[in-house]
Amino acid sequence: MVDDSRSELSTARLRLAAGRAALGRSLRPSLRGAERLGHLLRRPGLVLSLAILAFVFVAAAAPTLLTSYDPYLTVPADRLAPPGAEHWFGADEIGRDLFARIVHGSSLSVQASSIAVGIAFSAGLVLGVIAGFAGGWTDAAIMRFIDVLLALPSLLLSLAIITAIGFGTIPVAVAVGVGIMPGFARTTRSEVLRVKTLPYVEAARLGGASRARTLLRHILPNSCGPVIVLATLDFGVAIIAVAGLSFLGFGAAPPAAEWGTLIANGRNFLVTAPWLSLIPGLFVMAVVLAANHIARTLEDGRP
């Protein structure tokens, strides 16, 4: 374990160092429904986090359920209207409703973050499982490749990818996904290594189960817990990274606007209408906080 931690050049190392023991534990068998509800009610933080994420996903899937305003409709008379009954979050410099823009922006932001985590999750899982399961040269080669990716700070790696493939939601998502993929590969690998040596897995292999069967039936299900925790955690990371890149102006084409774009556009009015950038930022923070809180709950193995 010590040797392992020395050769790792990674953020995953920190996560592992910080909570290796906790991460190592797989998710505990779930409690029964009624009991679970009771637990939930005693955890208002978790309820709130779930509510925030639910809101965001509803906003992403069916924004019109949450607001009747057209996010692109300009109403010159309402420009820079402060938050109030008419416009809950105020209106921007050309009179567009900010609440509607945040709700409609969810779809792009959630889409981008999900694609990013999806890329990182699937590529990281495949690389990590192959490395951990195959061992030897394959393992060494994959892990050196991961080391190299880790040495490229993810935001700068994203900038390079965007320079090459252009602006837009999908390029941003791909760039962020590639940036956080190494963490998944590492975590998956170390989990596979751990599970591989568990007595019953060894027993299954000795008992003549094929490699594929061992992998699918025993190793994967037992090692995916921490990976799922990491995915939840990285959903928050991806939201911030996507917001950062769209803040820099590399995101979707206007008038569509990701949350980062809303913050960026609002900053010109920091003196005259501070809410235009402060509210979308608070919103991003709430979503990330919610994702992190849920990840921590999963990590601690409690429902």
Partner: protein, 315 residues
């Protein structure tokens, strides 16, 4: 130990070479025609040039030859400190970076200092309060620090400390005062992680078996905690500080944009907007080099900080 040092250094150099290669592959092989982009950055239209002129320009920008030849030529030049020419900035890339490096290093350095002071200070505060309610509240506070988008925090601080209170300048890069807000903004994420780690580490250390063993050996309380517990909690922080330093350029991209500082980060951001490929490649390579170097340093420091790690025995 020497063998470990050499192998670790060689490994680091290989990683750096790999990072450079990946950046090169992304930048020179993915897009359309780098020549058209470079020419345009110099104010010339590729369609208006004759084939002879195009060949000439191709040579000038080092774009003649196969991608592999080009790769080795660029690498060879980079090893000699020549990162090419930024057509839009009308200057050698190495010079641009050297001019801006001090700004970014000052920002990063102060941010690391801030992070350690804030993180450790907060960790201590959270660990030392007696009220359990307050302790639980404080223990959760760093979670906010981790969830804040840094660029937004920057805007918030500008709004508060520059525009509303008028205590600190909102932007620019002259003097220490203009460094405080951006450095604080950059420091908060790491500070929150240090605080989280310390709170967990201090608690975990007091439960470790070796502490009990150490008592049993008859060492004094102070010695025990000084030697073992603190080192145990501080080790991950050393790693994290290394990572924070390695990530300075990355963090600087957003912070320098928000605070209008002319550093390497903003150079990178502008280069992306202008598709100034040599600049992007150089900044990415430089930051990878910083990352690899700092991590190498941390890895070499580890055995000194933690006697449980002994590389000599492992060869």
């Amino acid at each position: 130990m020497t063998r470990y040092l050499l192998s670790r250094t060689a490994q680091a150099l290989l990683v750096l070479l790999g990072a450079y290669t990946i950046a090169y592959l992304i930048l020179y092989l993915l897009p359309g025609d780098p020549l058209a982009i470079l020419l345009n950055a110099a104010g010339r239209d590729i369609d208006a040039l004759s084939p002879a002129e195009i060949a000439e320009a191709r040579r000038f920008y080092g774009l003649d030859g196969t991608p592999l030849e080009r790769y080795f030529e660029l690498l060879w030049n980079a090893l000699h400190g020549d990162f090419g020419f930024s057509a839009s900035k009308n200057a050698p890339v190495a010079q641009l970076i050297l001019e801006r490096l001090p700004q970014t290093l000052a920002l990063g350095g102060l941010a690391v200092a801030f992070s350690i002071v804030e993180g450790v200070g907060f960790g201590y505060l959270a660990a030392s309060v007696r009220s359990p309610v307050l302790a639980r509240f404080l223990a959760r506070l760093p979670a906010f620090g981790v969830s804040l988008p840094s660029f937004w925090l920057g805007l918030l601080l500008i709004h508060l400390f520059a525009f509303t209170l008028g205590w600190l300048p909102a932007a620019g890069n002259d003097g220490f005062r203009s460094l405080i807000l951006p450095a604080f903004t950059l420091s908060l994420y790491s500070a929150a992680i240090y605080a989280q780690l310390l709170i967990r580490g201090l608690e975990a250390a007091s439960r470790e078996p070796f502490i009990v063993t150490a008592y049993a050996k008859g060492l004094t309380r102070g010695e025990v905690q000084f030697r073992h517990a603190f080192r145990n909690a501080a080790l991950p922080i050393v790693t994290l500080v290394g990572l924070q330093i390695g990530n300075t350029f990355s963090g600087a991209v957003l912070i320098e944009t928000v605070f209008t500082r002319t550093g390497v980060g903003r150079l990178a951001e502008e280069a992306v907007l202008r598709q100034d490929i040599p600049v992007v490649l150089a900044v990415v390579t430089l930051s990878a080099a910083g990352f690899v170097f700092i991590n190498l340093l941390v890895d070499l420091l580890y055995p000194i900080l933690d006697p449980r790690i002994d590389h000599a025995s492992k060869g």
